[in-house]
């Protein structure tokens, strides 16, 4: 066995605090090492050529590169050794950068640690076995979770690329938050006018199968071959018969149902169609308000419905869909303003949230676009906007910036002046964050052309005084406290992860951060991928972002899906668990602990029961290997013998 070791300087990253020449010199003394050299940038083309040349010249059969983290360049070097004719698993990386040169300044200690890392890697590479990938067929259908603008964009792009798309939306209509907005910044174009055509495209696309008012119940399988259980929630209306005529909604006697589309700005009927442009435009019954359900008698809608679509006996239905890739675009939630007790949201009717104000501005909203105070339905003359309502506030657990509030507040201030030219708007802000194209000009316009008064400081208290709401805040530029007597106060409450985001993440085996936003593979270079292959992210599920960014991510996720599905077969990673049937005692503990359901029971001829790993499902996490009482299940490339060789090399040195 002839091991070649290549020690990288990584410029000064490693050579700055590690004596690489000495590491190479010491490495040459290790039994089995036939060749060792240090080089400026091993990952560069000449660096890789050096490896290939050495393999030929010195007849090397195992390679170790001591450089950065294997997360950076393991694949690069595996390809290099493969090109030189070796199995790609006859390769090991010793991390002497992240684990060594970057964390200490003592050159002597760092050099020692680097030598130990190399010694361990050499010991392991000598135990490595050749491994070969197997390939499996890919299901070319796509699941998109969430029918907001990001999800719709991803669905349309995938479908236009020729793939069948299953779009699951938990509310009765696609459109998401954007469908609720009046106008959009910085162009003040009508939100539903630009979103509507996309919603219609989704409804009419031959390759998109829409499950509205449905949720993902269970995700099984692996990249290329997922089985998805979808719960179609009971609407109590047969949507194959419902024409969306709206007669039921008109006649329904239960008039005080909570309108989640309008965020409770006004009540709706117990049977309702959320908004005029809804897709699908179908009615649904809310059983918590419907008299047929609460009192056991009514039946008005059933009598009035011209197509006899009402079915009070309807139950949830579970359907299964098979797909090869998943795009998660499950959107965001909003902070409960009652958490900011000093602002009085929830206690005082004239303190409302920005999305509620958006519904007041909207022509298809409950007030037909007339701005009125919720308390007395009078037109407000003084409107105060409070930005950072909960955002950047670690005392209530939202340390991050909600990204787009600065911009929509400027927009709402402009629209307020448009609706009521004699009104005056004030904005309390900490910093105006407007880095997008045309964004800063927009916030300047709000101040210069529309006369919005911007006050640099936070609001401490909001309290009633007669018919007015007194907003008490600071003007830190004036250096004092200021008070404004407002008719209406609009709170820009913080963007949070969507309710149920962690539960969905657990079904999908993707990770989420402390704020329950989904984590991308790499914050810069892999922004729409997750660490679970086959699952991609788009929109606010990954973090607060505005419409252009959400649409961009929707298309980006679709591009990733399309490139993956351009192949008919995918190769699996051979570094997965394998059962030694002779040693397995059939206790099947591994079956229970496997987080991916990748291990099943198998009965051999003669009746012996053993565990069996489904190659394509196994993710190589290694949980089973530490569970097995007799060492019968081994993770390839990380077997007990291979790891113990590393330990021995460290302990014996």
């Amino acid at each position: 066995m002839k091991v070649g070791v290549f020690i990288c300087h990584c410029g000064n990253n490693i050579a700055g605090t590690v004596d690489v020449a000495r590491v190479a010199e010491e490495t040459r003394k290790i039994p089995g090492v036939a060749y060792a050299i240090n080089y400026m940038y091993t990952c560069s083309e000449p660096g890789q050529d050096q490896i290939k040349d050495a393999i030929k010249k010195y007849d090397l059969d195992r390679i170790v590169v001591a450089a950065c983290s294997p997360r950076m360049h393991e694949l690069t070097f595996r390809r290099t050794v493969e090109k030189a004719g070796l199995n790609r698993y006859y390769f090991e990386m010793a991390n002497i950068r992240e684990h060594c040169s970057w964390i200490g300044e003592d050159r002597e200690l760092n050099t020692n640690k680097a030598m130990e890392a190399v010694r361990a890697a050499v010991a392991k590479v000598m135990q490595d076995k050749p491994l070969y990938s197997s390939s499996f067929a890919v299901n070319k259908r796509v699941l998109v979770i969430g029918g907001g603008v990001a999800g719709m964009q991803a669905a349309l792009d995938c479908a236009d690329g020729g793939h069948e798309v299953v779009l699951v939306e938990k509310s009765p209509s696609v459109g998401g938050m954007m469908a609720r907005l009046d106008k959009t910044f910085p162009t003040i174009d009508c939100s539903i006018c630009i979103l509507g055509p996309k919603m219609v495209d989704v409804a009419q696309h031959d390759l998109i199968k829409l499950y509205a008012y449905s949720e993902v119940e269970e995700v099984k399988g692996y990249v290329g071959n997922y089985q998805i259980k979808i719960r179609k929630k009971a609407t109590y209306v047969d949507w194959t018969k419902c024409t969306g005529c709206g007669e039921c909604m008109e006649k329904c006697p239960s008039k005080d149902a909570y309108d989640s589309f309008n965020f409770g700005v006004a009540p709706t009927k117990a049977i309702n169609i959320p908004f005029p442009q809804a897709i699908p435009k179908k009615a649904k019954i809310d059983p918590t308000y419907c008299r047929q359900f609460t009192k056991g008698k009514c039946g008005v809608c059933a009598k009035i419905c011209p197509t006899k679509a009402i079915n009070y006996e309807m139950e949830d239905e579970i359907v299964t869909e098979e797909v090869g890739a998943i795009v998660v675009a499950s959107g965001y939630g909003l902070l409960d303003i009652e958490k900011m007790g000093e602002y009085g949201g929830g206690r005082y009717p004239d303190v409302i949230t920005a999305i509620q104000y958006e519904r007041l501005l909207n022509a298809s909203g409950p007030t037909s676009g007339h701005i009125v105070r919720p308390s007395d339905h009078e037109e407000p003359k003084t409107v105060v906007f409070v930005s950072c309502c909960g955002s950047r506030d670690k005392s209530i657990g939202v340390p991050y910036c909600s990204n787009f509030c600065c911009m929509y507040i400027a927009k709402q201030a402009i629209l307020t002046k448009d609706h009521m030219p004699d009104s005056q708007s004030y904005v309390f802000y900490m910093d105006i964050r407007s880095p997008g194209k045309g964004y800063d000009e927009f916030t300047r316009r709000a101040q210069e052309e529309y006369g919005t008064k911007y006050i640099r400081g936070r609001v401490s208290r909001i309290f009633p005084k007669g018919k007015k709401m007194v907003v008490r805040g600071a003007d830190t530029l004036l250096g004092t406290t200021v008070e404004i007597e407002a008719d209406l106060v609009v709170l820009a409450n913080a963007v949070t992860a969507a309710p149920g985001a962690p539960q969905l993440a657990e079904k999908l085996h993707i990770s989420y951060d402390t704020n329950a936003f989904y984590v991308e593979s790499h914050p810069k270079l892999r922004p729409v991928e997750t660490n679970t292959s086959g699952v991609f992210l788009a929109g606010c599920a990954q973090g607060p972002k505005d419409i252009p960014a959400s649409v961009g991510q929707g298309s980006a996720a679709a591009a990733k899906v399309l490139s993956m599905l351009s192949k008919d077969f995918l190769e699996n990673d051979p570094a997965i668990a394998q059962v030694n049937q002779n040693a397995c005692v059939g206790c099947l503990k591994c079956v229970k602990t496997c987080p991916f359901q990748a291990i099943v029971e198998e009965e051999l001829r003669g009746g012996k029961v053993v565990a069996k790993v489904i190659q394509t499902v196994c993710a190589g996490c290694g949980v089973c290997t530490s569970t097995c009482p007799c060492g019968a299940i081994q993770l390839q490339h990380f077997t007990d013998n291979q790891l113990l060789a590393e330990v021995n090399a460290l302990c014996l040195s």
Binding site: E342, C388, R392, D393, K394, S395, I396, M430, R456, G457, R458, V459, S460, R461, R472, G473, A474, D475, T476, G479, T480, T481
Partner: protein
Amino acid sequence: MRVINLSTTSDASFIEQVKKESGQDPAECYQCGNCTAGCPYTEFFDYPVSMIMRLIQAGQKDTVLNSKAIWLCATCETCTTRCPCEVDVAHVMDTLRNIAYREGRYTEKDIKTFYEAFLTSLKNNGRIYELGILMGYKAKTLHLLADADLGPNVLVKRLIHFQPNKIEGRDEVQRIFKRFAEKRDNEKRDNQKRDHHG
């Protein structure tokens, strides 16, 4: 307005001292102004509380320790409650008052006298004796008639007594004062020694 030369006047050791004595990190303040917005005394302050925090960040020791604001603060803790950065602002103000007292900077002499009268009463009686505090304070400040109109009311409501209500364990309260004085003296001596050697 005065030009502040940050290169020459920013006192890093003052920032460190405030940080150490208060246990709060002034760098955590991002100047949102919520403390000033909630403060009921802003109208009496020479520097609003958010600006005191900013002056600490800028290391402006003299401006901060000579300010009226640190003496006028009533420690109602609205600033602490509202602070989104979880800085205990009221405790920072308290710390500044303590540092100013130790350095003999009494910008609001009456308030300093009141504090002293309060503590003397506590030390002598084991609890506060309102009339005693009043007399001590008025004798020193010569504000003999201030708030005198409130006298009859508090007398009728029996909120003020002519005899101190001497509690049990007075000597133990006195011991606390004594121990604190000793500790303070030791610290002073140590500091002097250090300064001498340094």
